[in-house]
Symmetry: D3
Subunit: 309 residues, 6 copies
């Protein structure tokens, strides 16, 4: 893995080349190649001082390569001097080796997801969720998509992890309130971010798609879910509104791009569970990244320093 | 019409009873009926001092009645003393007699709509619009729905009037910019508020539906339009995004419940045409309501006094 | 109870006179007495058409009286024609008969409070909480004070009920996060609103005290808690900061009068548990008040209509 | 032109030296000259390794020079190694060669301006506009000033171009509304930004003047226009208010430094035409700068990425 | 004076009739006159049960009348039953008898104003201020105009009182800062609100003028002052900017309609002196109006309750 | 002093090492030491190319050192090449030599403080202030703490200087208002920022303490002052509220972390005196730093450019 490589050590492995350009030398003719390489462990800058013109053609067409080189440090930052670069067929590569991935194993996520599903008594919601999660296309995408481009769970399986966590949290909260519809809370929590399946692409790092930028995951999720509901015969009209309302309002505030604010108890709980999971995730990350420190650095997305003790 | 009736005159006609209740007398046993009546010309309070119990049953079941009574004035406000009230079959009634209605005649609106349609060259957008506007259900609803519960074009055919005005305005603006896609502007403007078809009900005054409150006309419009697009074979994916983006962003700001802000030239123009039509409509209304005055009263939706000269 | 009294029925009982004034007759000399009466069941207006001058002296000095009279309705609202009014010694009266009170019985609240206390393992936090809750002055006040002047739990024992609910909720949420200090969450949740003990007075309806208006319950709670901590020998300095930070930040945002925003995981969870309990309480109230309705009336504190189905 | 020069090529020409300083060498005594040069085509950094002391005197006094040198590239950015620098008399230089300039030719702008003027029927507004536009000082300045320091039309003749575009746009919009005063719209649109004549200086790049910073173009425009109106005998008082109101309110919102918000239909239309021209201009620029791209880079003044397809 | 009149007493005197209308009787033909009367002491509602038609003609043309009648009370509010109403020539009336007026005597205000003027050493500022204050038109208007329509110093001579108070306050503050230009502070403070001369009319109560609503006192003051400066030969250009900047920025924030924010020390001090005078004035009023109370009622313009002890 | 040292000159003296790290050489094995040094005159970067390992141990334990080296300039910035570094006992060092310090001499500050104290007539406030200022711990800390981490009076004795200035300013303002309690203004102004004593540490530059970050100087000041008041026997309860309210509200707005807004005249004056002192201080600094310039650079804390003439 790139990030395991130390100053002076050699690196050999498969990387994703996110960006590249030719940079002219300052004091002589010619140019060198500057590359941004990435694998599951993180991102590293690389330079290639001499290269065949044909490599440029490869780079224009593809983004996964086998590279060899040596790491060296400058002002505390490591970068890679690449000696060889080789194409590699996309099919031979496991995407989870090239992109960061949820720290929670698939088996555990699946077990926790099944446990949540088993709590749902409503036959229509059961049918809807199983149809969606067992669908080869949606079910796979749901389990592979990231939850964000940056900030929280910005890695493969991030959507899955986030959905399960929010559902567990919301389920616990809802348990304190008699008049809450627990089935709706569970289904809404598992599906609230479903539009992220299409909002991000993740074959060259994690990026927004054009559809994602133009419509956003709330609108895309509503459309996806609406289509899935249409396939469940006899799905009650009122239940449909309630469920779509949860997606439509889960950002909680207009300023956060929510076309509606939560107007039902279930939508309210899912909104807060979503916010709490995202914010507490950042505490957990900060504690992991700065295990010795009393205070995190300034966290822009939280607009504050976090106390870690 | 209710509002044509003067102090001391008799009234006979068909009205919509929006609300009613029994009010106990203060100084004797028994109660009188208090009714809120409405026809196309406006709303008037009414009282019925004596009535058969069976009338209460009627009122619970229905809302359109033939009434007879006398108007009298108190502190400058007229109300109606009802002498007789009679059921009338719903089928016999033309809704446009009971609710306020756009001042622009249907024939003119249809002509202006057709003129706009004829400017669209894209075969897919043509097909989409004709399919929607000629659909017996959607086409009728689009031509009958109000544009708002209050504030602007809050009357029957208001959506139609507003859509045509916005399209004409946006079309004119777009004509100044070479790189603008005029077809997209026209189609987007005609369809931007299409979700209002289901956001309001208008058989008992103009009110929000439950689906309207939970999802809102942006989300409902996206769903409706998405379904219509799916029926047009060969509709380009990119055009679909662009058109849906216009609906998704036409409120312009997150605070105004827009899940996206305009990111294309066409969406930007439709947003401003929409805002201008709604605001200038309020100037026109104020000029009509206060023809003698230099200043309107304070207009809360505009947060200001309007200068009318 | 006042609110159990129906049109035409007699009322006899003890009430709190919140406000009163003499109102001159319009068409003859003299005046009548207008009174605002309250007991646990709610508030009712009253009139006394003839009265001894000495009654005015009583009203200036006291606010709890035995009254007799007849209820009558005007435009759907009941008010009371008082025939007799009599002083009653303050000591003879149980405040919980005159002011509204939490619907949860004392025994249940105490049981739930004890269960929460028993989960705390930290000896210092245990000591602090028991010292405070068993203190004859603080312990009683904590169990009797309201949680608000209006909006949520604005009744006797409201603070107690709210604190227990927030602690249960926060405890459940915290259980999902390994690095959370559960003891701190429990203690912080039970104590977060402790300053409300002095922010409100509740012997003439529920009102703000001058100290409450000038300092507010956050500042008053910090002072109270700081004094209590000082009495626990060996209370760790770091734990003291963490606990005081929870009080200082529990409103979450500067705009909500929070001098700090939550910077620890525990403070964050308590903030959200507090918000959720207050908001869901309003849903529960709306469902109770409008059991037949799909939608609540507009709720200003929530800035929205609530969906009740 | 500076920007036409490629890596390794020689440059000879007249430039504006916007900024300069002596920079001490790091590893030997002495210093080199660092210069910021500009001509119509853009800005380029330059260095002069050896130079006569007298050059410093020149640079303190003047800013237009003839220079000779060679362009070389470092990390993708070109800069100029200057070999010779020579003073040149200010009179010999055409300012439009040194500063960027509107892409629309003068002849076209004048034609479009005249066409707009000819649509105005009010004799007083005609007189006012011709007096102003034919005034040797104002008329010239109006046709030469930029419309902004950056963001939109930040080049010579930018004010002229922007005013003509806004007037055309506003004229088209106003045509849809019967009660609009078209003459006032045209005059107001052509004059709305007239204060920019003095808000910017543009003999050393485009910069704010001190008066511009202390008073701003709204206040300066009101003063200028008020003086011009005073010279038109018999100019109606009411028309004067209406016209000054347009200047005073054209930014639309208090937060955008508008001392008034639009209170007349004409002021409202000019505000929106102004906003639309500025925003659509940025789309046009982005399409021109990134002809191949689907998305622009993040545009801070628009607070978003722009969709360019 | 109207407000000295008690229940059952007769009133005879000159009043300003601010508003009037005919109100039809509820239970018989015909109508009565409803009038809003005002003199220096305050406002009172009046009714005239019988009247000659010719009185309506008078009311349309004029607003100052001699009236006779009897005061009577209803629910604690007095109103006047008018028996006779008579026209009175405008010239015979002293406006200060009909409108409320500053409690500070003219002599004292003039003395304090002169004392402030005498502190100014700059000959140009001296000349400017004396020219303005001794001008028969401006000087009189400055000494008579109110400072507001409501909230602070909303009475005749209010502008004068407010200007003197702000100048004294700003002068004191500026004295603590060495680099402050005291002359500029004094002149700026005395002139900062000069545009209020034309923003309000005060011959029928205190109301906004159309020019005031369309331009506002900041823009109107800048224009007035700019004209006055033009008459002082040799007034330095820089001093002119600085002084105009003070007017332009004295509201301090864009949201408060300030086209500029204070960018000089002098402008900053005047802004704060202005805010403090207006806010402390409201404390003084509340203390005067509620001499016994610990707390004022809620003061909307301050968005809070004021503590009065 | 560090900042007196010029290019090529030697430096010898005692410095505070704020930060340090080892930086590996890019083109050879080994590393150099990078140090951030500070004394009263300011901050300078330093490098040490060769050093004994034991120096690292020293740096981990301590932060005050005697150093010798040579200054050299690169791109206009001086840094220090350190030749020797030596430990020095903390006791031998005067902190005011190492950290920047108020430009006002201690003697002057003490005189001005005493003059303010002598104006206070209330025996309780006198007692409170003398007890606090003469307390060896508090009195010393109050006279040594900075007023901020950056922006205004961010140096030793800054709190003292700021408190005296605010008290003088507020005293002057209050003198214009009869109903103001001058004693309360003086005491409140001198004590308003007292919590800053513990909010910052200043033995390694000026930094926030953990308590300062978790509670803030408002809460810390309230606690400190509350404790001091408790020691003054017979201190009136009402006076206590008023004084604590001043601390609690002196930031003026909720967004500025004020748990209360000023509700008394005295609190209002202190809030504005505090804001004015901080803002005018920045003008004074800008005038001192840019004595030749008409405009300051952009000042982020003021969100504007300052006019300096």
């Amino acid at each position: 893995m790139l990030k395991e490589c130390k100053n002076g050590e050699r690196f050999e492995g498969i990387v994703l080349v996110n960006e590249w350009k030719e940079v002219p030398f300052r004091q002589k003719p010619g140019a060198f190649l500057s590359l941004t390489c990435q694998d599951r462990s993180g991102v590293m800058q690389a330079k290639m001082w001499e290269y065949q013109p044909q490599i440029l053609t490869w780079l224009r067409d593809q983004d996964i390569f086998f590279i060899q080189g040596v790491a060296s440090e400058y002002r505390g930052v490591l970068d890679l001097t690449v000696e060889e670069i080789r194409m590699i067929p996309k099919e031979d590569v496991d995407l989870t080796m090239l992109l960061p991935c949820s720290p929670i194993p698939e088996v555990e996520l699946e077990t926790r997801l099944r446990a949540l599903l088993n709590k749902i008594h409503s036959p229509e919601l059961q049918k809807l969720l199983r149809q969606f999660l067992d669908n080869p296309e949606w079910g796979t995408a749901y389990r592979q998509a990231p939850a964000a481009v940056k900030i929280h769970q910005a890695y493969l399986r991030g959507l899955w992890e986030h959905s399960v966590r929010v559902a567990e949290l919301a389920n616990g909260i809802a348990g304190h309130f008699l008049s809450m519809d627990q089935d709706l809370v569970l289904a809404g929590a598992l599906l609230h971010d479903v539009g992220k399946i299409g909002e991000y692409s993740y074959d060259r790092g994690i990026k927004f798609t054009t559809e994602g930028r133009l419509l956003g995951h709330i609108v895309m999720g509503l459309e996806l879910l609406s289509g899935e509901i249409a396939k469940v015969s006899g799905f009650p009209q009122e239940l449909r509104y309630k469920l779509l309302h949860i997606l439509s309002s889960h950002h909680g505030k207009y300023e956060w791009q929510s076309p509606k604010r939560p107007k039902s108890m279930e939508a309210l709980v899912i909104h807060y569970a979503d916010v709490m999971d995202a914010e507490l995730y950042q505490f957990e990350q900060a504690k992991a990244n700065y295990p010795e420190d009393e205070w995190s650095p300034y966290i822009p997305s939280m607009e504050r320093y976090l106390y870690l003790k």
